[in-house]
């Protein structure tokens, strides 16, 4: 096995019980059998054919076109049939994909992307710059209802098809995050003809250049994907060329995690996503399955404290909460060592992430002192602090769709440890829609809202004061309601800075301000674990938003 850089070690394939797998791999080299592969096809000769059954624990998308809305479940599946202009390799570097090359003007206000000239959509039509233009216009059209892609294209004024192979982006301001943004599946290139069919039809089966194409979608059951035999556009870090090995992918929706793992054990499926911590622990001790641990980029998974209203408008109370809460033991036991405690607002895969453990040490004494100082010095019969007749009560709406059971249990532990300092945490489990409703009506003091985006620009979306007022699309991302002019200016500068060092300095300064405000309690990376059957080889997570790619994958037996 090649020595993988640190980032790749986290992201790419992590054979379970590594030594055993290595041994097996060594043996199998002789027998031709293969186990525990990496991104390269080092452990056996790929075999063509077969149907991969993928069991997804994520919500079934409402629309298979990730331009519409734009959430992670869409990204997971869209990665199989849609491709982006650029990708990101294991080292975090931007690499060519549908675009062979690109060039930014000096002032950063125009970009020209040169497309590969040999790429065809799954319907056989060639990829041209007009499709790039149509894609961007589609995302920017309010009628499409794009959220994630729309925000990422905030500084793009328009796209012009200079020639069949050259697309020129015009910017309203320099955007240091443009390539990172364009690497995301929510901005993947779709066929102009496909988009022209109208939203409904395009939702059923978007037309892209990916190694597979949508063949059918039985709602609440599965999406059938078939191999795109015209395929010719693997990203620069792929292991082979030409069409995919797999004939088809049966993309099933299996919301129950225990069922998912049981199905993997029974050989009914070859890949499961959203593998739960206990499942991972069980799989590790069984040693049969290969794990892909691919934390999502963007923000870390963290609790945000609503500084926009009492009691968290008082920094002392925020710090007291953070000092009172003990999550380390819980993360250890609930996640079985599969998740590492984070002290950063950004994901560990973000090279520009900044950590400061010292801000988050649990110290009940200090918490109590801070609360006394803040005027919450009395306690009622239940041990909850009281000030001016108000109880120190915190509303904590929890989205049962987004928080896995282990995380919900962790929140219960947060509730229990906070109670020792005299906080009353009221956890309300809610479905996604009601949860959004609670956020928009400001009925929360503590909330966990993961956000996935490639690059540190996610900080601007999450912590710039502009993000407190809901955008026309309805989303407001600054749930900490942090309103700090100095931070705003740091984030704005960083986003336009085209100098790497300056960018790093600015983002570090911004993160220090964010963490120092005690509005954030980082927990761990956004977990993203896949378990693979031993018969599946060559699958990997790609470097953009850590979605799986089955282009190089093949099934033995």
């Amino acid at each position: 096995m090649p020595a993988l850089p640190s980032r790749a070690a986290r992201r790419a394939l992590l054979p379970l019980a590594a030594s055993a797998v290595l041994l097996l791999a060594a043996c199998s080299a002789a027998t031709g059998d293969a186990t525990g592969t990496t991104g390269t096809a080092a452990s056996g000769t790929p075999v063509s054919g077969g149907t991969l059954v993928y069991a997804s624990g994520d919500a079934e998308p409402d629309c298979l076109d990730p331009h519409v809305g734009g959430n992670y479940p869409q990204a997971l599946i869209a990665g199989q049939y849609l491709e982006s202009l650029v990708s990101i390799d294991d080292n975090g570097r931007i690499i060519p994909w549908l675009a062979d090359s690109w060039e930014m003007a000096e002032d950063g206000l125009t970009w020209e992307f040169t497309l590969r000239d040999d790429v065809r959509f799954s319907d056989g039509t060639p990829l041209t710059a007009a499709d790039v233009k149509a894609t961007v216009e589609h995302v920017q059209d309010p009628a499409t209802g794009s959220s994630t892609g729309y925000l990422a294209l905030g500084k793009v004024a328009g796209v012009e098809a200079v020639s069949d192979t050259v697309a020129r982006f015009t910017m309203t301001a320099p955007d240091s995050a443009l390539l990172e943004s364009l690497s995301q599946p929510w901005l993947a290139i779709e066929s102009a003809a496909g988009i022209a069919r109208g939203l409904d039809e395009n939702c059923q089966a978007p037309i892209g250049t990916g190694p597979f194409a949508v063949d059918g979608w039985v709602k609440q059951d599965h999406v059938a994907l078939v191999r795109n035999d015209n395929y010719s556009s693997p990203p620069a870090d792929a292991a082979h060329e030409g069409p995919a090995y797999l004939e088809a992918i049966d993309w099933r929706f299996l919301p129950d995690s225990a069922s998912r793992y049981a199905a993997l054990q029974a050989g009914q499926v070859q890949v499961i996503d959203n593998a739960q911590p206990d499942t991972l622990a069980a799989a590790a001790s069984a040693g049969t399955f290969t794990e892909i641990d691919a934390p999502r980029p963007g923000a870390s998974n963290r609790l945000e404290l609503n500084s926009g209203q009492a009691p968290f408008d008082d920094a002392l109370v925020r710090e007291a909460f953070i000092r009172a809460v003990d999550v380390n033991d819980g993360i250890d036991s609930l996640f079985f060592g599969t998740a590492e405690r984070s002290y950063s607002a950004l994901s560990s895969v973000e090279p520009l992430g900044y950590s400061d453990e010292s801000l988050f040490g649990t110290d009940l004494k200090k918490a109590n002192a801070l609360l006394d100082e803040a005027g919450w010095s009395e306690k009622d019969a239940n041990g909850i602090r009281v000030k001016d007749g108000q109880r120190l009560s915190l509303a904590f709406p929890v989205s049962t769709n987004q928080s896995i059971p282990a995380e919900q249990s962790l929140f219960e532990q947060v509730q229990a440890t906070a109670a020792e300092a005299g906080f009353e945490v009221v956890i309300t489990p809610l479905d996604l829609s009601s949860w959004y409703g609670a956020l928009f009506t400001n009925d929360y003091d503590v909330v966990s809202a993961p956000y996935t985006k490639v690059g540190p620009d996610v900080l601007r979306i999450l912590y710039h004061s502009d993000s407190i007022t809901p955008a026309p699309s309805g989303y407001f991302a600054n749930l900490a309601q942090l309103s700090d002019p100095e931070l705003d200016s740091l984030l704005a500068q960083a986003a336009s800075s085209l100098d790497a060092d300056e960018r790093q300095t600015l983002y570090t300064a911004a993160q220090k301000r964010i963490l120092g405000s005690f509005t954030v309690l980082p927990l761990y990376d956004q977990q993203n674990h896949f378990l693979l059957s031993p018969t599946l080889h060559g699958a990997r997570a790609i470097g953009t938003v850590s979605t799986p790619s089955f282009y190089d994958a093949w099934l033995s037996e």
């Binding site: 995690s257 206990d278 499942t279 819980g330 049962t400 249990s409 532990q413 229990a416 489990p429």
Partner: protein
């Protein structure tokens, strides 16, 4: 026919062998235990049900933790004990509301004249076309999930069954020989209603309630399991089972014990209901 009616049908079950009697004794003992767990959980449970100990998470059953510990290191047995009140309360309240509604419908049908009888009968028929949990789910769609909704939903789902049994009971009593005999003696309708019909027709209420509570607890816990009733931080059996299910492969005790409590409660409720029926039969009551 409803599940409850079925249970009532089975009530006539003849005592076959001595084990049934032993069963009754065990059921009474279990019911007493549940009562204690409801009223003085502190006396029954060894620990605080909400005391977390992450380092002790997922301990299998042991002398220190009879039912093991859960994902946060809480004592499962203590949580089961403290959950009794929640679970039973839902069952009892659902049964009470179902019986009340059923009784109102039955009285309306039996004494409201032909028009009411026809209307109520059609209503019951229509409600039966929402079998099992369907009616409960409909209520939840309207009122949103939560323990109170779940209770009312289960109550409403059981009401048509109760209504049909009680209506039949009222009519049977009204047509019975002793009511005719009272009419022949020239007694007034109100006196006949008060002295004969109501006391005899409503005598099986206790049996119905006993049998119904078990069913209501199963249904309510099914709703909790589906995430539509009591929600996980609450120590309710269905919710505990639901919360423990992700860990089935590694920590079976999180699902087995709350489930066992539900099963035992339902069995005990059936056994007690049958025993009560036998007692009533022995006392010479009809039906």
């Amino acid at each position: 026919m409803s599940e409850l009616e079925l249970r009532t049908v089975a009530v006539g079950a003849r005592p076959r062998v001595a084990t049934v009697r032993i069963g009754t004794v065990l059921a009474v003992a279990f019911a007493l235990y549940l009562l204690l767990a409801c009223l003085v959980p502190d006396a029954v449970a060894p620990q605080d049900p909400n005391q977390i100990a992450p380092r002790d998470a997922f301990s299998p059953p042991s002398p220190a933790h009879w039912f093991g510990t859960d994902e946060s290191g809480r004592d499962v047995y203590s949580r089961v004990v403290f959950g009794t009140a929640n679970s039973l309360l839902i069952g009892v309240a659902a049964t009470a509301s179902g019986l009340t509604l059923g009784l109102a419908l039955a009285v309306l049908a039996a004494f409201g004249g032909r028009v009411f009888d026809f209307t109520v009968n059609r209503t019951i028929e229509v409600l039966f076309a929402f079998p099992g949990l369907l009616l409960a789910l409909l209520v939840i769609v309207i009122a949103g999930p939560g323990p109170v909704t779940a209770t009312l939903a289960v109550g409403l789902s059981t009401a048509p069954g109760y209504a049909r049994i009680l209506r039949g009971q009222l009519l049977a009593v009204r047509r019975s020989g002793y009511v005719e005999a009272a009419r022949v003696l020239g007694h007034r309708p109100r006196r006949i209603l008060g002295r004969h019909i109501l006391p005899n027709a409503l005598a099986p209420l206790l049996v119905l309630a006993t049998l119904g509570i078990g069913q209501a607890i199963v249904w309510a816990s099914a709703l909790s399991f589906l995430g539509l009733g009591a929600l996980p931080p609450t120590a309710e059996w269905g919710a505990m089972l639901s919360a423990g299910r992700p860990y089935l492969a590694t920590a079976w005790w999180l699902t087995v014990f709350p489930g066992l409590m539900i099963v035992l409660t339902a069995v005990a409720s059936t056994v007690l209901g049958r025993a009560l029926t036998r007692v009533r039969a022995r006392e010479g009551a009809t039906q």
